[in-house]
Symmetry: C2
Subunit: 337 residues, 2 copies
Amino acid sequence: MLDDRKLAVLRAIVEDYVSTNEPVGSKALADRHNLGVSPATIRNDMAALEEQGYIAQPHTSAGRVPTDKGYRLFVDRLSQIKPLSSAERRAIETFLAGAVDLDEIVMRTVRLLAQLTRQVAVVQYPSLTRSSVRHVEIVPLSDRRVMLVLITNTGRVEQRVVDLPEDVADDRIANLRGVLNGCLDGCGLSNVPDTIADLPERLPQEDRQVAATILSVLLETLVERHEEKIAFGGTANLAGADFSVGLRGVLEALEEQVVLIRLLGETHGMSELTVRIGSENPYSGLRGTSIVAAGYGSGDRELARLGVLGPTRMDYPVTMGAVRAVARYVGQILAGS
Amino acid sequence: MLDDRKLAVLRAIVEDYVSTNEPVGSKALADRHNLGVSPATIRNDMAALEEQGYIAQPHTSAGRVPTDKGYRLFVDRLSQIKPLSSAERRAIETFLAGAVDLDEIVMRTVRLLAQLTRQVAVVQYPSLTRSSVRHVEIVPLSDRRVMLVLITNTGRVEQRVVDLPEDVADDRIANLRGVLNGCLDGCGLSNVPDTIADLPERLPQEDRQVAATILSVLLETLVERHEEKIAFGGTANLAGADFSVGLRGVLEALEEQVVLIRLLGETHGMSELTVRIGSENPYSGLRGTSIVAAGYGSGDRELARLGVLGPTRMDYPVTMGAVRAVARYVGQILAGS
DNA sequence: TCTGGCACTCTGTGTTCCCGAGTGCCAAGT
DNA sequence: ACTTGGCACTCGGGAACACAGAGTGCCAGA
């Protein structure tokens, strides 16, 4: 059905189209790649490839352009992920090394990815549920108000103001903080609900009401929107490339966190690259755009995902290499802090 | 030099051009606005206005278009800030009311501004130096590491990991925390350096080294990049409008925090609107874009600024009204939390 | 199965042409 | 001293058109 030469032709078409951004014809193919056959033969192969939906012509008598299906085959079987140059590796290390807190790590990662790939970069904050508690702090603000601060082992800090049902003296707060840290320290966040379920019962009667209030806010913090926080950047890279749909749709999608998170995809295992090409995306505003994403994490746990978004006509081998490399480095950085 | 009618003509030109996005000619003006004079007269006035640089024609024998100078005059003397409709007011209140922490307030403000004005919204986080300390927390992470958490009265939370020069037991940390909070509580951040300058000397000899390390990180946190953190959104609104320079420049400027901060401008006093039109901007990538900004704060202190960025050809009265209203509401929200 | 040749089909580009909107100026009117 | 109608002039932008060039499909021959 698809012999080796046809595959070679497809690969050549993708490569040429990616670099020139113009439909590629049989003659140009024969010239630029030494396939060892004449344009006429290539034409026959192209006809076959088109027949099966891997390439298409914008209009009769123009060159061919890869379809989403064609890119898919290219990514799956015809391309090899391109490793970064050593200069790029060093750039990554030095660029990420100076970050002082999680916010900065994420911000720098975004910039880094955007610069390396010349695409839009998207980075998800380390997922709360997959982290564990490093410390819980309860800060009295006034007699009836406290601020609850949750610090995770990935460096993420969540805070919430809690209105208490009654006046509470500072020493009772201090006591509660001690108890809370005692049983939550190191606890995986997904286990927190179970762990604290019966905690009020172990406290003196007078404190139960207050503890319950604080704990319910803590639970809220865990499940709510904070769960999936993301950052993106490099939108200026969109200006050059033209999208079939126009970049309005892309920009809208980027500002829609929910969409963006779904785009990064579900977990597939560490450093496993996910590539979504054009119409494979679950969001119609992104016709004509592809996503290359990977999970990152410290040790063997995937904490969250990151990736880039660009036109389907992108250099997949290079992009995939950059995404994979950055994901690994970020994992290391996180593990080390 | 510029009699009333000429000013009326300029106002009409700006209004028409803003709404139609096409150069406006003398005939159209005479038709749409009842100026009570003939097109020929208007032509004379237009010639005078052009002579003095308030309007220009894209090419000979096209209609006139306002210049930056023309917009400036319009904003300063010919327009009245348009108050929001009551529906919009209510929308603002309900939209901002549900925010649980500072991050969310800022995020929602960005969305709100972007939606109201259909432009790009930019919001600066409440300045650290103009806030005061609500609480300082020192969380032991390991024997030689602590996390320093600084909470301000505006709800902002800054955290930093500190590597200590020696092993330090938890009780010494607790002690240090007590001392630190004792002297910093309620202290204006700009006074912190003075306040803690002689603090190590008041501690037992053994703790001085550790305290100095922690304090120096605290000082860093105050002066560093965190000082001016900003968020923006609504870039999808750029897609429609066309900029003379192309929107690449605009997107680049948006990602350049430094530039953005300078664009929001210096403090001019609370709720004072700053309008920067086209070439008045200190950044060349923004030829063709205007900025409308205002300060916001709680009480009488300006904490930071917010604003929108759009094509010079924007509806200034409406935009200014929205920016001013949002700035006020955000101030209220911050004061209340 | 590959190849060269050939006729055919488009798109994109350049040219020309013309319409219309808009201007500037002038002379006449109030 | 303004204002106004008239008029000639200027361009930009769109429509019509032709044309070169790239690319295709198909066929007959190696």
